[in-house]
């Protein structure tokens, strides 16, 4: 039966380094945002902002996602990971390359370091893709969640391919069209193809499980799967070959409809939930699902155009990215860390002790108080930064940036508290 496959779970030495490195990168990300200061108001493709974006999506989000996926693959695919050794090797290569890549962007070494960093990143992501695809091939189960995950992995490879081509172009200058055109494709593939598909795949399993809801209309996920993929494929082909604005609107509408089917699925799960009170992890997660509507609204504004001046347009584009990376992805990761990491560690420490001694509950492995303060500071960050952007007020942005720094510190404290939890004061049960 699905999910009773904890015997297939990888060794925690495969999973934990991703959480530790991801958490540290979240702290580094907050520092980078503070240091970038007024660069944030410049054009959306300025080197500091691109460095911040890559630290956020690769160093922070993807790193945690990789760790979580290695843990979840046995549950969703009902098979063990193809190779734990390859997963450990991939971690080190991707950790080095994400730092190398971020540094290359930060110092603006576009025609020198960047190409090597991008190639290394491409190599590391390819190793991850190979490991997951081979695990999937071993699996006999092909359910909706595993379909989402495997397609997300393929979109990740495509995203990285386009990113590497852009990086190579900085050195060899072979593209006939301005690189910003490909940057748009690269970002869309990454955010919708990789992150959104993956989150729907994993979220459609985990969120109803944590909410404890049954008898859901799983057909909605099938609609979501086909619509988002078809829309994304159409959008990319249109941008590459036709550049037709009417087609763009049509494919955007198909993607949005697909997203709304997923939102509707989660809403149904929320309404049918048996556990009425949401814990801190699920409060974050539900907020993230609600926040998915923000980039839809902002992209609608961008689609309509409103003849924005370039300077304002640039800020709206940054807000669009912010709403996805922080409003949606980071919010969900912060929440799901509190749902998954305590269980991973709890199982590692107490699996052999259950029934024999009194064990703590998984949620007792972290400080609820710290997690709650972290939640409200993160809300402050989410509200304040967009206001600062729209008003072009650096002081307001700073309040938000320092809130994020505090959030990252509190998050790191709790993550380390969970990971370094010691079995102590055991009484007979």
């Amino acid at each position: 039966m699905n999910g009773l496959q904890t015997n297939n779970a990888p060794d925690s030495s495969v999973v934990i380094p991703h959480f530790v490195f991801g958490a540290i990168n979240f702290f580094v990300l907050a520092i980078m945002i503070i240091l970038a200061n007024t660069n944030l108001f410049e054009a959306y493709f300025n080197n500091k902002l691109i460095a911040i974006t890559h630290m956020a999506v690769l160093g922070w989000a993807t790193m945690i996602v990789f760790g979580s996926l290695y843990q979840l693959i046995p549950v969703v695919f009902e098979t063990s990971l193809y190779s734990e050794k390859l997963a450990k090797f991939t971690f080190w290569i991707s950790a080095i390359s994400v730092l190398f890549l971020t540094y290359s962007f930060w110092v603006g070494a576009f025609s020198t370091l960047l190409v090597y960093a991008a190639l290394l990143m491409f190599f590391s992501l390819l190793l991850f893709v190979i490991n997951v695809v081979l695990s999937y091939k071993k699996s006999e189960l092909k359910n909706t969640s595993s379909k989402f995950i495997i397609v997300a992995i393929l979109w990740l490879a495509t995203t990285e391919l386009v990113g590497t081509i852009i990086a190579l172009n900085f050195k060899f200058n072979f593209l006939t069209v301005i690189h910003l055109h490909y940057l748009k494709i690269h970002a869309t593939l990454g955010l919708i193809g990789w992150f959104l598909m993956l989150i729907i795949g994993v979220g459609s399993t985990l969120l109803p499980m944590f909410l404890i809801s049954h008898n859901l209309k799983y057909k909605k996920l099938d609609y979501s799967f086909y619509m988002i993929n078809a829309g994304l494929l159409g959008l990319v082909i249109n941008w590459l070959f036709f550049k037709n604005s009417l087609f763009t609107i049509v494919f955007w509408t198909i993607i949005v409809a697909g997203i709304l089917f997923f939102v509707s699925f989660i809403y149904e799960s929320y309404k049918k939930r048996i556990r009425k009170k949401l814990d801190i992890g699920m409060q974050y997660s539900m907020l993230a699902i609600l926040n998915i509507l923000l980039p839809i609204l902002i992209s609608l504004v961008l689609l309509i155009g409103f003849n924005f001046k370039f300077e304002l347009l640039s800020r709206v584009v940054i807000l669009y990215g912010f709403s996805i990376v922080f409003g949606f992805i980071t919010t969900l990761i912060l929440g799901q860390t509190y749902k998954t990491l305590p269980f991973i560690i709890w199982l590692k420490k107490y699996k052999s002790l259950v029934g024999k001694v009194k064990t703590p509950l998984p949620r007792e492995l972290y400080s609820k108080q710290i997690a709650t303060i972290q939640f409200y500071l993160y809300l402050l960050f989410l509200v304040v930064v967009p206001i600062g952007f729209l008003l072009k007020n650096n002081s307001i942005i700073k309040v938000g940036s320092f809130s994020l720094l505090a959030v990252s510190i509190l998050y790191n404290i709790n993550v380390l508290k969970i990971i370094f939890h010691k079995v102590k004061n055991i009484e007979n049960g």
Binding site: G3, V75, T205, M209, R275, L361
Partner: protein
Amino acid sequence: MDKQEIAQFEINALELLKNVMDPEIEINVVDLGLIYELYYDGDKKINIVMTFSTPSCPLGETIKTNIKETIKQKYPDFTVTIDVVFHPQWNTSMVSEEGKRILGL
């Protein structure tokens, strides 16, 4: 053991299982309604028919281990077998009044 003694033993065993918590929902497996049947054959063999709150429960194996170990702590020379079923599907009507209070139902 006569039938009455067996029935009393089964009640006591169920009471014992109130020490086994579902680590995610934080309610014991009996009040949660996860234990569908508990049979005692009168000769040191216990068979439990149970379910999980969701088929994809990643803690299923741990809960089963916890049940077996809890019984063995009190009855070391007993054999415990557990059958996990998903029909009928677990639902809130199976939760005890105490469980409902904790879940906020």
